[in-house]
């Protein structure tokens, strides 16, 4: 029996070896294989999760290392994401600033607000550029939203800006829609006050845009957005001459600003310009600017 079986197997082996891939035996092999293949395929699909489970057991060591490496990478990516979000916001702010500069068509110098002192100096801000970067007193300071204020003190590397909301500040402005001009005064945290000087009897619509008005000798160019006419504040003298103006600029969240370096002098004008409010000639000293030399104190900002 053993010999017979071995002989039969040997005959088949010899025939298949000699015929190669073209013989009847090879055809039979292909037919059986093709018939059985779907069964193997179905079983392989059914047990794939089980196989994966056992495979993963063997890979536990490397999986742990991979996991730790991926966790570190994820943490780094999260930090990068936060940084990118900050960069995107800064990019947007800078684009807005560039847009404002292009609209004005003036030479500007960008600066970062580095300090807004509390107390009596609340309505001033310190910026990180000074005389070395071409900054001088009375230069206008703006941001993407509009007028921030003007430079009232300069050292070589820093400058102090009196904010437009300061009770000591006043600017010549005009109502963009009607052309009426007047004097705008800061009132600290309250809306600014606009005293309409030309055509005071003409109604100024609520929501009318207020912009700066160039005045002879001033370095504040025409057309810088300041705010919108709001309702008159309760308690004020209700007169067509006095209007509340809500500023565009958020003076409590100042970040990047532009100093207008080469604003041209305004042409002759017979209207009132910026006025020094009482006490404006001598701003409270308190130490002056970092690195400031000379007469030891901020000069009052004049027209």
């Amino acid at each position: 029996m053993l010999a017979l079986l071995l002989l039969a197997a040997l005959v088949l082996l010899t025939l298949d070896f000699r015929e190669g891939d073209e013989g009847a035996l090879s055809d039979a092999q292909r037919a059986v294989s093709a018939t059985f293949a779907p069964v193997q395929d179905a079983l392989a699909t059914a047990i794939a999760p089980v196989g994966a489970f056992f495979t993963s057991i063997g890979e536990l060591g490397s999986l742990r290392e991979q996991n730790e490496a991926l966790e570190s990478e994820l943490q780094a990516l999260r930090e990068q994401q936060v940084m990118l979000a900050d960069l995107a916001q800064e990019n947007e702010r800078l684009r807005d600033l560039v847009g404002m500069r292009e609209r004005l068509g003036l030479t500007t110098s960008a600066a970062q607000v580095i300090a807004q002192p509390p107390g009596a100096f609340r309505w001033t801000a310190l910026i990180d550029i000074g005389a070395d970067q071409g900054v001088a007193e009375n230069m206008a300071v703006i941001n993407a939203d509009g007028l921030v204020g003007k430079v009232v003190g300069v050292s070589s590397t820093y400058a102090r800006v009196q904010l437009a909301a300061s009770p000591n500040a006043g600017y010549s402005v005009r109502v963009d829609d009607t052309g009426q001009h007047g004097l705008l005064s800061g009132r600290g945290g309250n809306p600014m006050q606009l005293r309409v000087i030309s055509d005071p009897e003409e109604e100024v619509p609520e929501g009318a845009r207020v912009v700066t008005r160039a005045f002879e000798g001033t370095a504040i160019p025409d057309g810088i957005p300041v705010g919108v006419v709001a309702e008159a504040s309760p308690g004020q003298l209700e007169s067509a001459q006095f209007l509340a103006v809500r500023p565009f600029v958020d003076f409590l969240r100042l970040d990047l600003v532009l100093v207008l370096i080469d604003a041209p002098e305004a042409p002759l004008d017979d209207g009132p310009g910026e006025e020094n409010q009482p006490g404006e000639e001598n701003l409270p000293g308190g130490g002056g600017l970092p690195g400031e030399e000379g007469d030891g104190g901020e000069q009052g900002s004049g027209a």
């Binding site: 079986l5 071995l6 197997a9 040997l10």
Partner: protein, 172 residues
Amino acid sequence: MIARAGFLVLVLVTAVLLETVVFAGLAIAGHAPAVVALTVVAVALADGSEAGARYGFVAGLAVDLIAGGLLGLNAIVLVLVGWAAGASRTYLTGPPVLAQVLVGGAACAAAVAAHGLLAFLLDPDSVTATGMLRSVLATGLYSAAVAPFVVRPVVAGLRRLTPAAAGRRSLK
């Protein structure tokens, strides 16, 4: 007889599927247990050398037809495995499980070695000495571990289906 033949066909088909699909996915260092060879050992341990050789021939042909390769190669190997496993029955003492593990592991290792030798004779470039040695050891050990789970149920099934056993049941 028919039931026994049907049982062996079922065992063979299951063994081929287990070896080519299931244990292919559970390979250790690229080696899977020789489940078909273990069924040959089981038939040989249950019914002797001749039955083991006959079943080995059919099983070898089935593997050659399904898995490809030279027709008759696995048939030669498994005929010899079946005959040798059946011949070892008289020398086996001790717990059956131990016999199954030892004979199963040795038979599968011998099957891989014989297959490798024949393949070398037919095509010397297809086999390397170190590769064959690694396969013999890995397959032998893996098969020995799996042997009790294959040999035992096949032996038990065959014993239940032998004519003597059937006769005893009919007399009850």
